[in-house]
Amino acid sequence: MIEKGKISSFQMALIMYPTIEATALLTVPGITGTYAERDMWISPILGSINGFFTVFILYQLHKLYPKETIIQYSEHIVGRVLGKILGFIYLFFLLHIGSIILREYSTFVSVSFLQTTPPSVIIGGMVLVCAFAVRGGIEVLGRTANLFVPILFLLPIIAAILLLKDFDPKHMLPIMEHGMMPSVMGAAAPQAWFGETFLITMILPFLSDRDKGMKWSLILVVTIMVNFVITNLLAVFLFGGTASGYTFPLFTAIRYITISTFFEHLESVTIAIWITGIFIKISMFYYALVIGTSQWLKLSDYRPIVFPFGFLLTVLGCQWVAPNFEELNHFLVTIYPFYGSLLMTLIPALFLLIAVIRKKKRKKNFVKNM
């Protein structure tokens, strides 16, 4: 196996938490708010169904092929040629999403505090740090997540506590004024983010306690859902139905924190904490990309391709992914929910279906031959 390290399923959950949450904290409340307005806190609950579904599918696939990732078992399920093609599509998808995340991050950082710094520096620096982590392997990723995630996890909760006095719970009334439909529409974006639990396929083969993988993946989805609900409620309590007017509602909300005129302007600190989350998110996609590629090409070691891929990610993230942030946001609102779900949920579901049918057939043949 290429990766020699082992991590526990708890560490897997810790890696996956910022992998989903980091960018979701930024943009999802805004996107959800466009459709669901003051019902936007219901959307993550609906969206999480996709999370449970994806985890279930990938875990079942993992049980069928315990030592392989999706890049490897796609060949076993749909045949060599088709499997390789799908594997390539997945790698391209990871590269694409990875650079989209980098773009989101660099836009956010330059809007927030480094207005004149070229994005290549902001992205390049981050990719370099991520490359160190990726070279260290899954164990290092697990350990860094172990250190960073507890702080990140508390971020929305601390923000909620500090904003308590500005809350107006009446903003959330009336609930479901226009029926269920707006919140279902609003769930389109969160469900795509929940679909990113897909990446557990890259970690599951390297677990030291396989039997707990399912348990921790489910706990992960529930935790993220709760955190989404808190974040969205926070936006609703503060801004009501107008939350969608802000590109980054949570961070706008944190800007409002003022305690005894000394404790204010916490957004820089918040961003600093958030950067640790985005660091893990990028590293995870980067790691999946690198590991996937070396499995696709059947390399003996993944380390030599870490820096080349880092360069590729930087270039894609700086320029090619989207000409500007509006276009990127448009992509995230309209295309990504379908693009993401297709690759992260539907195709794996199809894989599972084929694999199960094949297995049954084989059993039947086996019985017949007896």
Binding site: I7, S8, F10, Q11, V109, F113, L114, T117, V121, I122, G125, M126, L128, V129, F132, A133, G136, E139, V140, G142, R143, T144, N146, L147, F148, T261, F262, E264, H265, S268, V269, I271, A272, I275, T276, F279
Partner: protein, 516 residues
């Protein structure tokens, strides 16, 4: 290719003495032996050859190095009885030796290598005519420093003894603390010229056997001409030789070594230095002082938390100051910002240059203070107060807030209980200041994340460096951020002490009322 060739060449180079002496058996003719020894110790002023007649008839020679043996004992218990006339009775040299020598530690030497080894550690060698073996007399004694309080790690409460340069004294100090025969000490020699004695100490049944083997293997791999301090060994057996962080603890305190041995770790004692190495260690054991375990647990826990806070301060405070004043002024409360701006108004340099200037000056001052003879120490502090202080501010070179920042950072780095870790943090502060000056908070985050990723990749003899935080060992947090009271310290650290997990009986919380 060229490099490999060169290495091979070096391998073949042995010191000339060793080549001659290797396994050469002593001859029965005394003069032959003497000739070889004399030629080897040619131009060695300190080697004494004392020829005498044993019992008035057998020719004998004592070879020893001046200052390494107890001369009085040699005179009274060896030379005097042996030179006594037998009074006509013919007796074999063996029987004379057996009856007349009042020395407890005797060893027979048969080869020249043995002979030289004994002579060089201070055991005089007695060679007789017509004998194929000599006798090494265990009366080595030399001037050594008496046991003193360790200067680098002083405590308010705790034992006041520290290791000395003599290996035998150090091992005896350990043995006095741990009396169980399970405390094992394996010895080996490293160094072509110095052939320094090195002892691996561990407690059988507590320390992992594979760990002991690994330590032995790494030590045996070493082929170096000299070992003058344990620092040589440390750099030759580390897991990550290029890291700024120490992967072995060095300590002068026998109690620290004993407590680490009791947690299943291995100690490496090197002759000639009071610093003992301990492996494997984690980052958080570097933040602990032995005194934590002697003071009340509540106090120690608070101090530990403070130490962690100040570790961060010593690493990032100057960078944070530079970053905030250059890029994120909005983070500073308005009133403070105004006074900061007023203080910085007359300073000609940007914050980055100011910080660099002050930090480098401070490091220079500290280095000067360490190396200086004690008599002129006072001069340094006077000059230092001028450079980092009011004079510098009133001269308009630096701003007063910067002086405060540098001073707090300095105090914070003095708080680190292990000097080597403080050094690593001092070193990493400078790249962080540079990053803060170029990218602000983002730069600091890049730097800090890189450091943390690096710490996550580190291992000390296979043990992840950041245990028990990453990977998380929930039960061991009681001895990481806090120091649980002794009646709660029921288990040893999992990764080093799993072979004998229980430290004590459960339920030892004192509760006098319930006792019958």
């Amino acid at each position: 290719m060229f490099r490999r060739k060169r290495i091979k060449k070096v391998d073949n180079q042995n010191s000339p003495q060793q080549q001659i002496a290797k396994q050469q058996v002593l001859s029965s003719v005394l003069n032959d032996n003497l000739q070889v020894l004399r030629s080897m110790y040619q131009d060695c002023f300190d080697v004494v050859f004392r020829t005498f007649l044993m019992g008035g008839e057998t020719k004998a020679v004592l070879v020893y190095i001046e200052g390494l043996s107890n001369i009085r004992e040699l005179d009274d218990h060896v030379l005097a009885p042996l030179m006594e006339e037998t009074g006509g009775k013919v007796r074999s040299p063996q029987s004379i030796l057996r009856e007349k020598m009042h020395i407890s530690k005797l060893k027979e030497v048969k080869t020249l290598t043995d002979c030289i080894e004994n002579i060089s550690i201070g055991n005089p060698v007695l060679l007789l005519d017509q004998e194929v073996s000599g006798l090494a007399l265990g009366i080595a004694q030399w001037e050594k420093r008496s046991i003193e309080e360790p200067t680098a790690e002083s405590l308010v409460r705790g034992p006041r003894e520290g290791f000395v340069e003599t290996l035998g004294v150090n091992t005896s100090m350990l043995r006095r603390k741990i009396k169980s025969p399970d405390l094992k000490m394996k010895s080996m020699k490293i160094g072509r010229y110095t052939s320094t004695n090195i002892v691996i100490a561990y407690i059988e049944g507590l320390a992992d056997q594979t760990l002991i083997k690994e330590v032995e293997k790494r030590l045996q791999r070493i082929d170096i001409d000299s070992v003058l301090e344990s620092g040589y060994i440390e750099e030759l057996i580390e897991d990550n030789p290029r890291s700024p962080f120490p992967q072995l603890i060095n300590t002068e305190r026998p109690d620290t070594v004993a407590s680490n041995l009791l947690e299943g770790r291995v100690a490496i004692l090197v002759d000639g230095t009071p610093f003992v190495l301990i492996a494997p260690i984690g980052f958080f054991s570097l933040l602990q002082s032995p005194e934590d375990y002697y003071q009340r647990s509540l106090v120690s826990s608070t101090i530990r938390l403070m130490r962690m806070l100040f570790m961060w301060i010593s690493l990032v405070l100057p960078a944070l100051y530079v970053g905030v004043t250059t890029y994120h002024q909005e983070m500073v409360p308005t009133s403070l910002l105004i006074s900061l701006a007023a203080a910085r108004e007359s300073v000609p340099f940007p914050a980055f240059v100011e910080a660099l200037l002050m930090e480098i000056t401070f490091e220079a001052l500290r280095e000067a203070g360490v190396r200086l003879p004690k008599q002129i120490g006072a001069a340094v502090s006077i000059v230092g107060a001028l450079v980092i202080g009011q004079a510098a501010v009133s001269a308009g070179l630096v701003s007063a807030p910067m002086v405060i920042v540098v001073a707090i950072t300095g105090i914070a780095s003095f708080m680190m209980p292990h000097y080597t870790q403080g050094l690593a943090l001092r070193l990493l502060r400078f790249p962080l200041i540079l990053l803060a000056a170029t990218l602000g908070l983002l730069g600091i985050m890049f730097g800090v994340m890189t450091i943390i990723v690096h710490l996550c990749t580190l291992r000390s003899f296979g043990l992840p460096y950041l245990t028990p935080i990453a990977p998380l060992q929930g039960r061991e947090l009681k001895d990481t951020f806090f120091r649980a009271p002794w009646w709660m310290m029921n288990s040893r650290p999992h990764l080093t002490g799993k072979y004998n997990a229980h430290r004590q009986v459960l339920g030892e919380k004192p509760n006098p009322e319930k006792e019958p």
